[in-house]
């Protein structure tokens, strides 16, 4: 980087952009290359967008998140938001480099935001200490891009479904590219998801490495590994001894209890290696994190964010896999969208029906109509069950709805989820009344 002459840290973000601050980045932004997208506005236009307009959301301020925040700030993103629900643990300090020993116990999002703003003048990082599920569609609508550095499948499924649902055919702004990074030891992946256009996170759910689970009879009878002893404590002994009491894997006393039980078990079977840390790791399903793998994956996510935000180069289409466990291999491929994906697949139909129609009449229509022809459809709307073909008890419970006017169960413009064995996954109906 060119040495700044004077760093003016007051006033607008523009004024902090001292001469040649982005000298290197600007080599890419000032002129189109032979293969840049025709829509690329080289020069002032794209720089202006990146540095004054583009708003990006980072989900997760952990191992990947720290790297992502630093990379984004240093490549010229100025309006960054970050969400994380965790507080800093002493074990994070070996790789989550925005945190110091004095920060232990404080929210990751707040400390990370403060650090980046102090270190990179002119960047605003807006933290939120809480869950992604706390925020609604309006919140997510304000961003141009979302980057995820999460270790939870559940959180990823949630944000993916939220962004797919956000897509409104009448509003191009509603389509938010999602860049998802993940690591596991020496392995990692980065992917670009264009909600409703490319394959989504849910489309690839069956490709995931599932958490290691040991056969329950091995745990019960023939333990050989320290993990078997820990699972014995958490899967079998906890419910047996503690009854209904819920295990809280963030509670050190609970971990201690499991550790004691697991240690006794290990002693009995002459197994070595049960430690407090391993106990916590197994029950919380902590995947060993390696700082340098995080760095590689975070960097590729941020490069994609930069390319997507600026159109300065072709972006990843759409799945990059890094396998560093046996030499170093990487593989980039286009993961295909699935028709039977519960989130982005399936069809969606608008139906306009008379106000007088009963549920039964609608079902007849679904069964008969030439272009639909669904055999034995089951219908729900949100959490409300409208009509279920099976099992018997639920069929009986929902049968009275057949005679009810549809309008009593689904409001004008409301949605119905239809499932049937003849459908790849589900069909969603938007109902309007005439």
């Amino acid at each position: 980087m060119a040495t700044p002459d004077v760093a003016r840290v007051n006033g607008s973000s523009h004024r902090t952009d001292w001469h040649d601050r982005y000298y290197h980045v600007d080599q890419v932004l000032d002129r189109p290359g032979p293969r840049t997208d025709p829509s690329f506005m080289a020069g002032a236009g794209v720089k202006e967008f990146l540095r004054t307009q583009c708003k990006i959301l980072v989900i997760g301020a952990g191992g990947l998140g720290c790297e992502i925040l630093a990379n984004l700030a240093l490549s010229g993103f100025k309006d960054i938001h970050v969400i994380d629900m965790d507080t800093i643990d002493i074990s994070n300090l070996n790789r989550q480099f925005l945190f110091r020993p004095k920060d232990v116990g404080k929210p990751k999002a707040l400390v990370a935001a403060e650090y980046i703003m102090k270190r990179v003048p002119g960047v605003t990082v807006t933290p939120y200490f809480g869950k992604i599920q706390d925020k609604d569609d309006d919140y997510y609508m304000q961003f141009n891009l979302v980057i995820c550095g999460l270790d939870s499948v559940e959180a990823r499924r949630w944000i993916n479904a939220t962004l797919v649902n956000l897509v409104d055919p009448e509003n191009p702004e509603s389509l938010k590219p999602l860049i998802d990074g993940g690591t596991e030891g020496f392995k990692g992946q980065a992917r670009v998801i264009l909600p409703t256009v490319t394959s989504c996170y849910e489309c690839s759910l069956d490709m995931l490495n599932k958490p290691t689970a040991f056969p329950i009879c091995t745990i019960a009878n023939t333990p050989r590994l320290p993990e078997h002893c820990i699972e014995w404590a958490s899967v079998l002994e906890w419910p047996r001894v503690q009854g209904e009491k819920k295990m809280d894997t963030d509670d050190p006393e609970h971990i201690q209890w499991l550790y004691n039980i697991a240690s006794a078990r290990a002693k009995e079977f002459k197994i070595e290696g049960v430690t407090w840390q391993l106990t916590q790791g197994v029950v919380k399903n902590i995947i060993p994190a390696i700082a340098s793998t995080n760095a590689i994956i975070a960097a590729s996510c941020c490069n994609e964010a930069f390319k997507i935000a600026t159109s300065s180069a072709a972006y990843l289409n759409n799945y990059f896999m890094l396998i560093g466990t046996d030499g170093v291999y990487s593989y980039t491929f286009e993961h295909e969208k699935r028709d039977d994906c519960p989130v982005c697949g399936g069809e969606s139909l608008e139906v306009s029906v008379p106000r007088s129609w009963t549920v039964e009449r609608l079902i007849e229509m679904l069964v008969e109509k030439q272009d639909i022809q669904i055999k034995k459809p089951s219908l729900s709307s949100g959490a409300k069950h409208i009509y279920f073909q099976a099992p018997k008890q639920l069929e009986e419970a929902t049968r009275p709805n057949l005679e009810k006017p549809l309008v009593d169960l689904v409001p004008d413009g409301g949605d119905i989820t239809v499932t049937a064995s003849s459908l790849p996954f589900s069909l969603s109906l938007r109902v309007t009344y005439v």
Binding site: A220, L236, H385, T419, S426
Partner: protein, 177 residues
């Protein structure tokens, strides 16, 4: 920003927003309403509005456990089908693959679970345990021992336990119907 919008196909652009039903919820609806169970299996929903908590009763019509009604609880969490349903036997039964706490040794409930499997596969798998109890994956070691060594005695113990009787000092639940 890249222009993604133009990449949307026309027919997709016509598609409307989808309902805010979670993938797990729709998947459970699909699994349950498409269950194809033999008459030997029945589901019971304590709260018909709650699809995530229910029980399954298995009444085998052949094999050593014929004449009993075995009840399993199913708990499905919001990460289904990434995670399998949690299934436990609600009664104390004498079975080599079920322990006294109700834990069940069925591979597809743990190590071999895959999102392409469904509730139907789990239920069929559970029923199979009653037709072919497996001495190789024991959770009740004594029962497994007995099955391996002395099939006659094992059969006798099963009948005894199903009546609510004692086997080797343990009283089992009466499951005969």
């Amino acid at each position: 920003m890249i222009k993604i919008w133009s990449m949307k196909k026309n027919e997709e652009a016509a598609a409307k927003k989808k309902p805010k039903t979670s993938a797990a919820q729709i998947r459970v609806q699909k699994d349950l309403t498409e269950l194809d169970l033999p008459p030997t299996m029945t589901t019971v929903f304590p709260d018909p509005a709650d699809l995530l908590n229910f029980s399954l009763t298995i009444t085998p019509d052949e094999g050593m456990y014929q004449g009993g009604a075995f009840v399993f609880s199913f708990v499905i969490n919001s990460n289904y089908p990434h995670e399998p349903p949690k299934v436990k036997c609600t009664q104390t039964i004498y079975h080599p693959n079920v322990d006294l706490e109700g834990n069940v040794c069925l591979n597809i409930l743990r190590e071999d679970w895959k999102p392409v499997l469904n509730l139907n596969s789990v239920m069929v798998g559970l029923q199979y345990l009653f037709l072919e109890p497996n001495a190789d994956d024991p959770l009740n070691k004594e029962a497994a021992e007995e099955l391996r060594k002395n099939r006659e005695q094992f059969l006798y113990n099963v009948k005894q336990s199903m009546r609510g009787g004692y086997v080797k000092g343990v009283q089992y639940a009466k499951v005969n119907v």
